[in-house]
């Protein structure tokens, strides 16, 4: 039976954050949901993607109409208890080549909020693995996802789309690289336990900073965060004393007051003999005095500055994105060809089964009729002989079917249709 690829879901463009959050799978845990999906008869294969910007079900289905309906119901149920309003307005549905194109664009980070951000590919791989472990991935999705990883790689190497910092934290790292020559002798101080700060501290850690200090008004939270990101917790009252050791200071608290003001920075800079300091203010409110940026050897970027830089990069990358779209178009075509060839596989199997059935029936009749005196060796020989005969007869048509047609040309389609009709293979 022919499978079609279907994607039902919502993303940052189709749904506001509250809606996305209400559908999202907690901590990306999708195993139970995948098991539930197996209960839907029209859905044969499925992978669930759930990130902060999108929740989508990618499925290979037998009956598209029914499956789309089932998938929508599935997402609605997922949302049960969160809100009464219907999800329908926020959902999009892609089928066939459109679905393939959509997944390729997602993998290549063309559909991301910040186009080109590299995280999405890793997330995609994780969700694909989860589905594989849950046993909901078959031939079609296996091929589809591996193809999408390949497309992402092609886009990354062949276009400049990933060469520019795209997320707020990678913009910050890029900026830090313009201030500091090497990170391995630099200390980072993280003030506050916000998620954004956590993310940025990790990114800096990956870039190889020497050490990380973490402070928070509630010391327990500082300890928890420090443990998570392998930093050392310090008491909130103590952080001004440690400030002179910090080359990069990340402020990420919800505090409405200024935590570090300009005179304090001037004093600290004198203490550290004017070694440059980089302040990154990414809290909900301003944590650092904006006058800090006017001090020599101190650089202050807040979340809006970082976003603006990311935005600028985005603008400059529009050409690159265009190139990437072209790659996606090519790859969708390639994939379509593969799906087309897949259609022949059932035809081949059906053709073989049809002839084999006739053979067995006739053989059984003869062996129980006028050939019933044959010895078991002779019976076996008859069986082998008839099987070989059928194979020889079918060799021509089957090898023709197996040949990868260069294009989905009309003759090919008619040929398959004719075979099905002549041997009454439809519905078998």
């Amino acid at each position: 039976m022919q499978k079609e690829i279907v994607i039902v879901g919502l993303n940052h463009r189709s749904a506001p954050i509250e809606v996305r959050e209400s559908v999202a799978f907690e901590n990306g845990y999708v195993r139970d949901a995948l098991v539930r999906l197996r209960g839907y008869p029209a859905v044969q294969e499925s992978v669930i993607l759930s990130t902060c910007n999108r929740v989508e079900v990618v499925a290979a289905v037998s009956d598209t109409e029914t499956a789309c309906h089932e998938l929508k119901t599935f997402l609605d149920e997922q949302r049960a208890g969160h809100g009464a309003s219907t999800l329908e307005d926020h959902l999009y549905t892609f089928r066939g080549a459109d679905a393939v194109r959509h997944l390729f664009r997602v993998a290549a980070s063309l559909d991301s909020m910040v186009v080109g951000e590299p995280q999405i590919l890793g997330q995609l791989k994780e969700f694909y693995d989860a589905a594989r472990q849950a046993g909901t991935v078959g031939t079609v999705l296996h091929r589809l996802f591996h193809r999408s990883f390949f497309v992402a790689k092609r886009v990354r190497t062949e276009t400049g789309i990933a060469s520019r910092a795209v997320s707020v934290s990678s913009v910050a790292v890029d900026l830090a690289k313009r201030i500091f020559d090497s990170f391995d002798d630099k200390n980072v101080m993280l003030i506050g336990a916000g998620k954004m700060g956590d993310l940025m501290a990790r990114q800096l850690q990956r870039s190889g900073v020497k050490s990380l200090m973490v402070t928070n008004r509630t010391f327990e939270r500082a300890v928890a965060v420090a443990e998570r990101i392998h930093g050392s917790p310090i008491l909130f009252e103590d952080f001004p004393r440690y400030l002179k050791m910090a080359d990069l200071v990340i402020g990420c608290t919800g505090s409405p007051e200024i935590l570090v003001d300009a005179p304090a920075v001037e004093k600290v800079l004198r203490e550290r003999k004017q070694q440059p300091m980089f302040f990154i203010d990414i809290g909900d409110r301003r944590n650092f005095d904006s006058a800090i940026n006017d001090i020599d050897n101190a650089y202050l970027y807040n979340i809006d500055d970082l976003k603006e830089v990311a935005e600028e990069n985005l603008q400059e990358r529009s050409n690159e994105a265009q190139k990437a779209e072209e790659i996606v178009v090519q790859e969708v075509e390639n994939f379509g060809r593969w799906i087309g060839s897949l259609e022949r596989v059932p035809t081949i199997a059906a053709l073989r089964a049809h002839f084999d059935e006739i053979r067995r029936r006739e053989l059984a009749r003869s062996l129980s009729g006028n050939l019933k005196d044959l010895s078991s060796e002779q019976r076996q020989a008859m069986d082998d002989m008839t099987a070989a005969m059928i194979n020889k007869m079918l060799h021509g048509p089957i090898s023709h079917l197996k040949k990868d047609a260069p294009e989905e040309d009309e003759e090919e389609v008619r040929f398959i249709a004719a075979l099905k009709k002549l041997f009454d293979l439809e519905g078998k």
């Binding site: 913009v171 890029d174 900026l175 690289k177 313009r178 201030i179 500091f180 020559d181 090497s182 004198r270 550290r272 003999k273 004017q274 070694q275 440059p276 940026n293 020599d296 050897n297 650089y299 970027y301 500055d305 603006e308 830089v309 600028e312 990069n313």
Partner: protein, 272 residues
């Protein structure tokens, strides 16, 4: 012969300038081509100076135009050394056009006064000008590095993020290089002045004669000395240090170009 070589050098410096500008500012991609063209120019330049030395039996440094081209040779040599260690094509984009203009200017001024007075042909003279010129060349590069520092610094303060700024070295690296140049330049300058006063003793009768050249060198020396002191002890660095470095070189350059027309000196190799 050396004039032909020098002309070829100028052409190569021009080509190097064009390729530096093209690769660094326009195309914004890394390429070895500009450096290789510059290296070719440098080798020609070296041969031009060698030919002159072999023909005349004395280095080509005693006249203003000769001093100019000798300085450009030193600057290019220093840049090539820095390029190997730091990979700073942006610095090349600044230094190479300067070297080209200096070589070109040498042709414009031509030979003015004839022969070097026979009495000046001592061994101390080549030692003196080599040290003094090297010091100058180091400070010229420090000037350019400071300029790049200010470019990067300004970009960061004004939250600009261009591809060029991303490829310029970090503030930390530029500041360190700037400091190293000062550390090398200052002793060279000191030795230049010391050998100079030794020559003054030989030809003018006293180590210190209040000659305008000696006074201006003394001022520049004090300035750079204070800068170095501030850097080592008072944590003077970054933007302020860069601005002061540039200012110091302006003093040196300003005197080299105009000083001696205003305050005539007995010193050789001046602009006439």
């Amino acid at each position: 012969m050396d004039i032909i070589l020098l002309k070829a050098t100028a052409v190569l410096y021009l080509l190097a300038t064009a390729s530096f500008v093209f690769y660094v500012l326009v195309r914004d991609t890394a390429s070895r081509l500009p450096t290789l063209v510059l290296l070719a120019g440098f080798l020609l330049h070296t041969s031009a100076l060698s030919v002159h030395f072999l023909q005349e039996g004395y280095p080509a440094v005693t006249q203003f135009h000769q001093a100019l081209t000798f300085k450009s040779w030193l600057i290019v040599a220093l840049y090539l050394v820095i390029q190997i260690k730091y990979r700073l094509p942006v610095l090349g984009a600044i230094v190479t056009p300067v070297a080209f203009l200096m070589t070109l200017a040498a042709f414009a001024f031509g030979a003015a006064s004839g022969e070097l007075p026979p009495g000046l042909k001592t061994y101390w003279l080549p030692v003196h000008f080599t040290l003094a010129f090297l010091g100058n060349a180091v400070f010229a590069l420090a000037f350019a590095v400071s300029l790049i520092y200010l470019l990067q610094e300004r970009g960061l303060k004004h939250k600009k993020m261009t591809a060029l700024l991303k490829r310029i070295p970090s503030l930390e690296a530029l500041d360190r290089l700037n400091y190293q140049l000062l550390v090398w330049g200052f002793p060279l300058m000191t030795l230049g002045i010391l050998t100079g006063s030794l020559l003054a003793r030989i030809y003018w009768g006293d180590y210190w004669t209040w000659d305008p050249r000696q006074i201006s060198s003394g001022i520049a020396w004090l300035f750079y000395g204070a800068l170095l002191h501030g850097r080592i002890t008072a944590g003077l660095r970054g933007k302020k240090a860069a601005i002061l470095t540039m200012f110091g070189f302006c003093v040196v350059l300003g005197y080299f170009l105009w000083g001696e027309t205003l305050f005539p000196s007995r010193h050789g190799g001046r602009f006439e």
